[in-house]
Structure formats: C-alpha cells, structure tokens
Symmetry: C2
DNA sequence: TTGACATATGAACAGATGTTCATACATTTG
DNA sequence: CAAATGTATGAACATCTGTTCATATGTCAA
C-alpha cells in the first residue's frame, strides 16, 4: 500500500464519497450488468433487441454470429436479467427486460455522440 | 456457422433490427465505456466521483486501493472520457465527464433495485 | 539544487473471458 | 417412435485484463 503521506487529503469529501458507495451486494450485480454490455457481441444483441422481439436464429443473423455463440451470450444476458424470453414451440423469443436497459443504452449513445468528432477512428 | 434451416425466420424483423445496429465506429467506443464500468474497481471510482471531485489519494482511500492501481484505472477512465481532471500543483483532481455518465449510473441502479429481492445474495 | 511527495507508467503474472466444436435437449412432424 | 430442427451447454483454447512491484515524472519547499 502507498497512501499519501498526509493520510487523507480531504477527510470530509472522502467521508461523503464513501457513504455514497453502493453496498457490495448492489455494486457486484451492477458491475456484472455493465460487464455484460461491455462486449461488442452482447451489446449488438441488446441493440438488436431494442428494435423488436427476436428469436435466437434472427439474432444470430442480425449480429453475424453462430447460433452457438449467440446462445451462450443470451444465457449471460438472461442470467443478468438484461433480457427476457418466451417459448413458442421450439422457437425462443428474446426481448429486453425493462425500460431501464433501454434507457441505459440511449444515454450511452448520447454520451458517445457528444464526443463523436473526437473519438471517431 | 449453423444458421437455422429456413434461412431467416423473420426476414422483416431482421432487416429492421439490422438497420438499428450502430455503426462499428460507434459500437466500439460504446462497448469500451460499458467494459470500463463493468469492473468493480472502476465502478467504485465512478460512484465516488458522482459524489464530488476527488484527488487520486482520496479516491484510493474511498475505494480501498493502492494509489498505483487507482492511477492505472483512472487512466482508462480518462482515455474513455468517462472522467475529466484538473491539476492544482502536484495534486490532480478528478470528476465525472458529463451528465450522461451520471444518468447511466442512475438508470443502472434503478434497474438493479427492481430486482434486488431476487438478486440479493 | 536537493529531498520529499503526489501521481503516472511499464513489465509481468495470475485469473477471467469469448469463441469454436461436439454434443445434448426439446419440440414438431411424419 | 424416429427424424428433423431450433436451441442450449460443456470443454478447451487463445486472448485479454487487473493487480503488484519497481521505477519514472513533475511539483513544491528548503
């Protein structure tokens, strides 16, 4: 460890910030959700599903993935409650879990758009 | 590859969803941002900074990290424009880059809260 | 200029992650 | 029931990631 000499430079601010940190049982799932969205494959899937409900086969086509890879990633999104699904015979339809997910996607787009002239490559 | 036999089950939906997919130069940075927030250490840092502006030493204290680890993670958040910073002598103060970041954090909290009784462990 | 200190960075290592391939499961049809 | 088809899953592998440790940079004070 190598904390700065004067112990803590701004004691009061550190206290305030510490109080605001989510409890571990919140922070964990939260990080998991972002991690899930932090993969281009899964992010593509989420964007695709933000358009409409799709079956695994559709998603694979839209995202240019094997159905196996698609299924693996859908499992992750499912477990994290980022997507929901319903079965109709042997076909499984997926969709986004709630509006929070859509909103997160939207806000992130807005954030990126603001910097698009800088980050474009 | 192993696409389903009937080629594409729902041609029109696949077209709509495909059109909605962000271009690669948007999707890439977007995934990078989520990936950055998908690490508990960095997510902690972002939450801490959502409280107030903090110096590296403060952040290390709040997040219970070595200053080296803190600095490494701040560099990533900096490059992704998730945080901004200003120097005051030898002390460097960090804060969140914009309101989109705050909003993303908030929405994700709301999402998790909705499922807290299920996901709590 | 020299020492002290806040922050940054490079290398390296252990652990995590996404894909592929093979195979299993479930549902429909004949 | 058997075959066909849509989806799911386990193992394995190469790649990526976050931390630590050592060291470097930049700023202030004496």
């Amino acid at each position: 460890m190598d904390f700065c000499q004067e112990k803590i430079i701004h004691v009061e601010k550190v206290r305030i910030a510490s109080d605001l940190l989510p409890k571990p049982y919140i922070l964990g799932p939260l990080a998991e959700i972002f991690k899930a969205l932090g993969d281009q494959t899964r992010l593509k899937i989420v964007f695709a599903l933000s358009a409409c409900e799709l079956c695994v086969c559709d998603i694979a086509a839209v995202c240019n993935l094997s159905e196996s890879a698609t299924s693996h990633q859908l499992k992750i999104l499912r477990m994290l409650k980022i997507v929901k699904f319903r079965k109709e015979g042997k076909i499984v339809y997926y969709r986004l879990a709630d509006e929070h997910v859509s909103s997160i996607i939207k806000q992130s787009m807005d954030h990126v758009s603001e910097y698009k002239f800088v980050t474009m490559y």
